[in-house]
């Protein structure tokens, strides 16, 4: 019988993040390093840092790790690596190298599980063209895994969450609902095969999205992870000085998400994220309650939310569909800053 990693955690994946409001308070007094070569730092809460080496070349640098969100070690490795590498893609970069970050309780979990997790990480890194050249392990319970990843980008073509312009359409590349589906799975509310949609979503690299963003001149984007679609959209709107309007009917959902939310299967992370967004967010009168909570559901290794000039949106969307993102959809737009920074309709 294979070891079930879910027995070690109550919440996994990006649901395990420190609440966003708390994190901002903790970080706000840190002295930011001053260096003109630093193109992106944590001041705008972006996905990764960017450092200019030459006029032609900048480094993209990021890390991410978390406790298991699936039962199988190999799958966990695949998903954790996909998620870690995603931050480089979200900046429009090409990932190159990575280091393993592993916390593993060697006395309480069979050591094969360690190998399975690492093997998943290596396989996904290889798919992304990334070489893992080292890492660090600590004995700790529950297990946690992820990568520190370094990539490159042209300094003039960095895509940040501050690059959204008024009038841009917003495209989301992957469906949401992973947090809800995985919580439902943990509580045996899903039948066999019903987590496949979530697993597939979390294992899908954002490499094609990053490539197409560069082809289409996208300048504003982020990836959707622990703060949920609404949380990340809010951060992007704030950093870009615009208001983002999302039409939640148009947001692609992982099969089964709505039904579970309807039954009350709404993870705590969604409530935390809602507390974070609501002061600056307007909710349309009569907005469906379940959709509102789904928009705040914490995602692990979610899709890219990209801002694109309206006349180019259809072309980008079509290419995303052809590149294996059939769920990619236009879900909203950026407008001149209003009283509310995010509007959910």
């Amino acid at each position: 019988m294979a070891f079930n990693l879910l027995t070690t955690v109550e919440t996994g994946g990006c649901s395990s993040k420190i609440p966003p409001g708390q994190l901002e308070a903790l970080l706000k007094d840190l002295p930011l390093p001053v260096d003109p070569k630093i193109l992106v730092d944590i001041a705008t809460h972006d996905d990764a840092g960017v450092y200019r080496l030459t006029d032609e070349l900048a480094l993209v640098f990021t890390t991410d790790f978390f406790p298991p969100m699936v039962s199988d070690g190999y799958d966990f490795g695949l998903i954790a690596a996909t998620n870690s590498i995603s931050d480089v893609y979200a900046m429009g970069g090409t990932p190159l190298l990575a280091l393993n970050i592993m916390m593993f309780p060697s006395a309480t979990i069979p050591l094969e599980v360690y190998s399975d997790i690492i093997r998943g990480g290596y396989d996904k890194a290889r798919e992304a063209g990334v070489s893992i050249i080292g890492g660090h392990s600590i004995d700790d319970y529950p297990p946690k895994y992820g990568l520190a990843v370094i990539g490159t980008v042209h300094p003039d073509r960095v895509i940040t969450n501050a690059g959204v312009r008024e009038g841009d359409k917003l495209i989301l590349t992957k469906p949401v609902g992973a947090g809800i589906i995985l919580a439902g799975h943990r509580l045996n509310m899903t039948g066999a095969g019903q987590t496949d949609g979530a697993r597939k979503m979390m294992m899908r690299l954002n490499n094609d999205g990053a490539r197409l963003m560069q082809n289409y001149g996208v300048r504003g984007a982020t990836d959707i992870t622990g703060f949920g679609l609404a949380g990340h959209a809010l951060k992007m709107a704030r950093a870009s000085g615009v208001t983002i309007r999302l039409t939640l009917d148009r947001v692609p959902l992982i099969e089964g998400t709505y039904g579970l939310a309807q039954q009350g299967c709404i993870p705590g992370a969604a409530f935390r994220n809602l507390e974070y967004t609501e002061a600056e967010t307007g909710f349309r009168e009569g907005l469906d309650y379940n959709l509102r909570m789904i928009a705040h559901d914490a995602q692990t290794s979610g899709g890219l939310l990209m801002a694109i000039a309206p006349d180019r949106a259809a072309g980008l969307l079509q290419e995303l569909h052809a590149a294996g993102h059939p769920e990619a959809s236009v879900i909203g737009e950026a407008v001149k800053r209003e009283k509310e920074v995010l509007v959910l309709g």
């Binding site: 109550e10 919440t11 919580a183 509580l187 509310m189 009917d249 148009r250 692609p252 959902l253 099969e255 089964g256 998400t257 709505y258 039904g259 309807q262 039954q263 009350g264 299967c265 709404i266 993870p267 705590g268 409530f271 809602l274 009569g286 907005l287 469906d288 309650y289 379940n290 509102r292 259809a314 969307l317 079509q318 569909h321 059939p326 769920e327 990619a328 959809s329 236009v330």
Partner: protein, 206 residues
């Protein structure tokens, strides 16, 4: 009084149990939820408040007892006609719920040119129905009728203005690869579609 005991359960199980209790309780019956941890309490309170249900909280020996007084409220979701109707008739107006299920882009079998003509005529006439149908559900090739070049798009827009819900099967949309060509309608999964059909008093299939 219906008692829901969530002791020992972690999030979101207490919320699921609460929701289940509210659905199972008889109309007007109060529901009492026993909760033993602050996170679940906070989430359950938020959930009830957002769904406009009145409740009180009492602390008792380290436990929180949330009592939901239901008065004459019979449903939970804000959008009750779409998702949560438990009565055979719409609770707000007492009227019968009519749903149109469009399963093809043509009306009837035999001749496709004629079928297209008939479907256009069907939509033109449906706009004149009083009252307008509560929902129109599009699945299989029916979703093509919501596309940007559809001959009935204007009629669909008129229906929306009259308050009719337009629901498009997302599996079908993906199958036909027409996602970026749909200016109207909500993308729906099978759960939602089935609920709409289940809660209908009349289902019309052109």
């Amino acid at each position: 009084m219906k008692i829901v005991d969530t002791r020992g359960l972690t999030c979101p199980a207490p919320l699921i149990k609460t929701r289940q209790g509210l659905t199972e309780a008889a109309p007007g019956e109060d529901v009492q939820v026993v909760i033993d941890n602050p996170v679940s309490l906070s989430n359950v309170k938020r959930y009830l408040a957002d769904n406009k249900l009145d409740f009180t909280v009492k602390e008792e020996g380290g436990l929180s007892i949330v009592t939901v007084g239901r008065g004459d409220q019979t449903t939970l979701a804000a959008n009750e006609t779409e998702y949560c109707t438990t009565e055979p008739t719409s609770p707000s107006t007492g009227k019968r719920v009519t749903v149109v299920a469009v399963t093809s882009d043509k009306m009837g079998d035999g001749d496709d040119t004629l079928g297209t003509k008939l479907m256009i005529s069907f939509f033109r006439t449906m706009v004149m129905l009083e009252p307008a149908p509560d929902s129109v559900v599009f699945y299989n090739a029916g979703v093509k009728l919501a596309m940007d070049d559809s001959p009935v798009l204007d009629h669909i827009r008129e229906l929306i203005e009259k308050g009719t819900g337009i629901y498009l099967c997302s599996t079908c949309i993906n199958h036909f690869g027409i996602k970026d060509r749909l200016p109207v309608g909500s993308f729906s999964d099978m759960y939602q579609i089935l609920n709409i059909l289940k809660d209908a008093d009349h289902i019309i299939r052109p």
